[in-house]
Amino acid sequence: MAKPPVEILQGTLDMLILKAVSLGPLHGYGILLRILQISNEALQIPQGSLYPALYRLEHGGFITSEWGESENNRRSKFYELTAAGRKHLTEETAYWGRLTEAIGDVLKARPSEG
């Protein structure tokens, strides 16, 4: 069941891309599809902003790319997580966990019953 789409937060796109390619090499379009699929179509990434993020991550050494063959025998560029990228993803995931927990705590707080 599809959830209603939500805007992705600034700075989270990199994390999502890293997560997407951590499951196996993907081409750009595949990354979009995977994120869409994992999030039950809640996270729709604007196509134009995917590539700058990919190149930024590659320039930073978190992912590497290689040309390969995709469905229909087309040549596509595949992205893969590097060791640095994996480490970065772990840190970011932990940080994200702490952040959402903290925000959740704040939002869940009720007037004290006392």
């Binding site: 081409h27 750009g28 379009y29 134009g48 700058p52 190149y55 995709s70 596509s76």
Partner: protein
């Protein structure tokens, strides 16, 4: 950073990869859409629409890949090229200005570098030096680079901080190879250890040993690589063989490596055998020193100072103050040329400065005209930094093109100057466009770009946005930098004036020298000398037979009008010797130094000397006949005053000569007591036939006699006849170099000419640049004020008045600049005093003519662009805005 550069390298690949990747994405998406039941065409359109603008995405990608800076720079440069191409007049003016300035700087710096800066081509050249002697004289410290035998012995025997050697000056001598064939070669005599001090060992063989450097030691010779190749076909067997040098056998002991040379330049080196008597009694040696390990210039100088004091004390000299010290070899070699060379360098630096000022003015003017464009771009969101970067890249593009063009011009100029400079200034090293010169040039170009690019860039990007936008391009904002430009023109004219005056001052003595009456007729006279420093030519009989027989042979050649031999030539330096008038009212108590030369019959005739009184030398003036002499008019003026010299007697070397004739003066390179480069000095001529073998030998030891032949017909034929005539007497006497008398004459003041030509060219360049600067200023202001002039004309102002008004600022600025330059030039004149001769540093002719020239050129440069007004149609102008 490395990655960045790498990404630049793979730029083309990067772009095509990115393109392929994005297209692949679009294809996949539209395939998916088609799979969801959307029509293919519609799918493609939708995919494109949702993806966003291709170019914008690519741009974002490049930026996130760290390629943005390169992009911006490339865009800036592309834009700069386009802008510059759209303004060809401006761009060409700037590029040509830069090319001329940089070209001139490259060429002159190559000369300066070869003369003064380039390290000597020996190992560790920084530790080489010459030992020189300083004496305090009433006029300041007097430096003597040559030393005598006693100085050499003392320093050689006592110095512990330096390794020393001495050598003679160069001598032209005759060499006969074992295979036969005589050659004129340049010989320098050196002490043992000479090559060790220089740090270069012979390529094969060995250097001169101490026992060979002693009186009576075995005669040996070390050959240059060039001589070995030329004369002995690079045959290593020559080692140990005997060559004839000056008619005496020498054993070849070593061959120096290729490219090795000494100062003075030589083709072979023989033992000097230094002594404290004879040659060593005077200051005829040059000393070269190498700092020993652990020593330094300071330590060596301290030791030399101590040794100098001990030397004076040990010899009980009454010298107030004498000091030995080390000076750099370049300094010792080119001491007399240092001033003129530095002067040239300063002059070319000044030209560069004028060029920069000019370019700055041009950029400023253009900045004013572009105020509107820049304001628009700023209003559209360009940052100030972006605009600055843009303007600077324009400067950089101009500087790079100008720099390259300048480099090409410079190397052409170097090629043109090289032969003259090598022959005239004799730098210790070849003049080449080497990497150092290139570095200096590129640095100059870049510095120029920064200097002239920055100020206009700041000035125009500071422009008030609203002001510039709200008004048209022809408004007050453009005038803001007018004052700066006027200041620049004043600078330019002032600097140009300094250069012009300097050139004028240097030119004046040359004009004087050129205008001197030579006193003889040198046309159609061929001359050549040969060395009689030869063991076989010590007797008067042998020498005279050589002279007479060879002359007789030459005179039989068709076309030859007259032939003779003299020890030296007009326009060259003559031998100085003592002569004493023994009778009459002007009899001397002591001999006076005079120029002295022996001549054969035919010498005066071949050179067409004018006889003033008495007779020439004749057939009967030989041994046994009364000794005779001829003096020149300068001698009569100097020593005989109003007395009749004919019949008076001169005592020379103990013999009495009767004066039988007076010849007109000829110009000679002056020696004793005269500081003019060329002058008519008192001279005594004696007939060769009456000299003793000892006299002849002594004279031939200093100078090589010159054959002078007046003849029509091709020089090569005459030269061949001269060679054949000498060979008929002696096959082993080679002539050195054949020259026409005209060449001898122009060689006499080649230095002055070279200096005047170079400085004159630089001054002409400065004048052109100043004219371009003024022209630019006036042309620009006429353009800016077209509308104003249109209104004036429409209101009935006479055209000539408008033209005058347009031209006036240029002329006024010139006058101000000339006034400033006048004072600066007086300072420059005082600095020049050391290289000037025969002209006062504040020479009125030079100053007045230069100022007149400058004002005329400025007036023309101001008038020509103003004449545009004459063609102005007021109606069109007014409608245009």
């Amino acid at each position: 950073m490395f990655k960045r550069l790498l990404s630049l390298f793979h730029r083309g690949r990067f772009e095509s990869d990115l393109d392929a990747e994005l297209r692949d994405h679009l294809q996949k998406y539209s395939d998916d859409l088609v799979a969801h039941g959307i029509a293919p065409q519609e799918a493609e359109l939708r995919a494109r629409r949702e993806f966003g603008r291709f170019i914008a995405v690519k741009e974002d990608v490049r930026e996130s890949s760290g390629l943005a800076w390169a992009d911006t720079a490339a865009r800036n440069f592309r834009y700069a090229f386009r802008t510059l191409r759209k303004n060809p007049a401006f761009s060409l003016t700037v590029i040509v200005t830069l090319a001329l300035c940089i070209g001139a700087n490259t060429a002159i710096f190559s000369i300066v570098d070869a003369m003064l800066f380039r390290p000597l081509p020996y190992p560790d050249p920084g530790r080489l030096a010459r030992v020189s002697r300083l004496d305090r004289s009433p006029r300041g410290w007097y430096e003597q680079v040559e030393v005598n035998g006693r100085t050499w012995e003392y320093i050689h025997g006592h110095a512990r901080t330096i390794d020393v050697a001495v050598h003679s000056g160069f001598e032209g001598v005759n060499l006969v190879a074992p295979a036969g064939g005589a050659q004129y070669v340049r010989q320098v005599r050196v002490s043992t250890g000479f090559f060790r001090v220089l740090g270069v060992a012979p390529r094969i063989g060995r250097e001169i040993a101490p026992e060979e450097d002693r009186d009576g030691g075995p005669p040996v010779a070390v050959l240059s690589h060039g001589l070995w190749t030329r004369l002995f076909a690079s045959d290593a067997e020559i080692l140990g063989q005997t060559i004839l040098l000056r008619g005496e056998p020498y054993t070849v002991i070593g061959i120096m490596p290729q490219g090795f040379d000494t100062t003075p330049s030589a083709e072979l080196w023989t033992p000097l055998r230094p002594s404290t008597r004879g040659e060593g009694g005077g200051v005829n040696y040059s000393m070269i020193a190498r700092l020993l390990p652990g020593s330094s210039t300071e330590k060596a100088n301290a030791e030399l100072e101590t040794l100098g004091a001990q030397f004076i004390a040990a010899n009980h000299f009454k010298i107030a103050s004498m000091r030995w010290h080390l000076i750099t070899v370049q300094r010792a070699n080119g001491d007399s040329d240092r001033g003129p060379v530095l002067l040239l360098w300063a002059a070319v630096g000044l030209v560069l400065l004028i060029g920069c000022v000019n370019v700055a003015g041009l950029m400023l003017a253009r900045g004013g005209a572009r105020q509107h464009e820049i304001a628009t771009r700023m209003a559209l969101g360009s940052g100030r930094g972006g605009i600055l970067a843009q303007l600077l890249s324009e400067s950089l593009v101009l500087a790079i093109i100008g720099g390259i063009a300048g480099l090409v011009l410079g190397s052409v100029a170097i090629d043109a100057l090289k032969p003259v400079v090598m022959a005239t200034l004799r730098p210790t090293q070849p003049i080449t466009l080497d990497t150092r010169v290139v570095i200096v040039t590129v640095f100059t170009a870049l510095l120029t770009a920064l200097i002239f690019g920055f100020y206009p860039a700041l000035a125009s990007s500071r422009g008030d946005l609203l002001n510039a936008l709200g008004s048209s391009s022809r408004t007050a904002s453009a005038y803001r930098n007018a004052w700066a430009r006027r200041g620049l023109v004043v600078c330019e004219v002032a600097l140009g004036m300094v250069l012009l005056v300097s050139a004028g001052l240097v030119l004046r003595p040359l004009i004087y020298l050129n205008g001197l009456n030579p006193g003889f007729d040198g046309r159609h006279v061929l001359t050549a000398s040969l060395s009689l420093k030869d063991a076989r030519y010590t007797a008067d009989g042998t020498v005279n037979r050589l002279f007479e027989t060879s002359l007789a042979g030459i005179r039989q050649t068709p076309g030859v009008e007259a032939a003779g031999i003299g020890l030296t030539l007009p326009y060259e330096r003559a031998l100085n010797d003592g002569a004493r008038i023994v009778d009459g009212p002007n009899a001397m108590t002591e001999a006076q130094i005079t120029d002295l030369l022996y001549v054969t019959q035919g010498y005066f005739e071949a050179l067409r000397f004018t006889m003033r009184r008495g007779r020439m030398f004749e057939e009967h003036d030989t041994v046994g006949a009364p000794l005779v002499a001829i003096v020149n008019e300068a001698y009569v003026r100097h020593y005989f005053k109003n007395d009749d010299p004919l019949g008076r007697h001169l005592s020379m070397a103990g013999a009495l000569h009767e004066i039988v004739g007076v010849v007109a003066d000829v110009q000679q390179q002056s020696g004793w007591g005269n500081f003019a480069p060329i002058a008519s000095t008192p001279t005594v001529y004696v007939p060769t036939a009456q000299l003793s073998g000892r006299d002849l030998q002594a004279m031939d030891n200093y100078y090589s006699p010159h054959w002078v032949v007046r003849a029509g017909g091709p020089q090569a034929d005459i030269a061949q006849a001269m060679r054949a005539a000498v060979a008929s007497v002696d096959r082993q006497l080679p002539f050195a170099e054949f020259r026409s008398m005209d060449e001898v004459r122009s060689g006499a003041f080649s230095r002055q000419r070279l200096q005047a030509v170079l400085l004159g060219s630089l001054a002409a360049l400065a004048l052109v640049l100043a004219a371009v600067g003024i022209y630019g200023l006036v042309a620009h202001s006429v353009m800016e004020r077209t509308r104003e002039f249109g209104i004036r004309l429409a209101l009935g102002a006479p055209r000539w008045q408008a033209i005058g008004q347009a031209a006036r600022p240029g002329i006024l600025l010139t006058l101000i600049g000339a006034a400033v330059g006048f004072f600066l030039a007086q300072g420059a004149g005082r600095l020049l005093a050391s290289v000037l001769w025969g002209v006062q540093p504040d020479d009125r002719t030079a100053f007045v003519s230069v100022t007149a020239l400058l004002v005329i050129v400025a007036a023309l440069a101001s008038l020509v662009p103003s004449l545009r007004i004459a063609r102005l149609d007021p109606a069109t102008t007014l409608r245009e805005e």
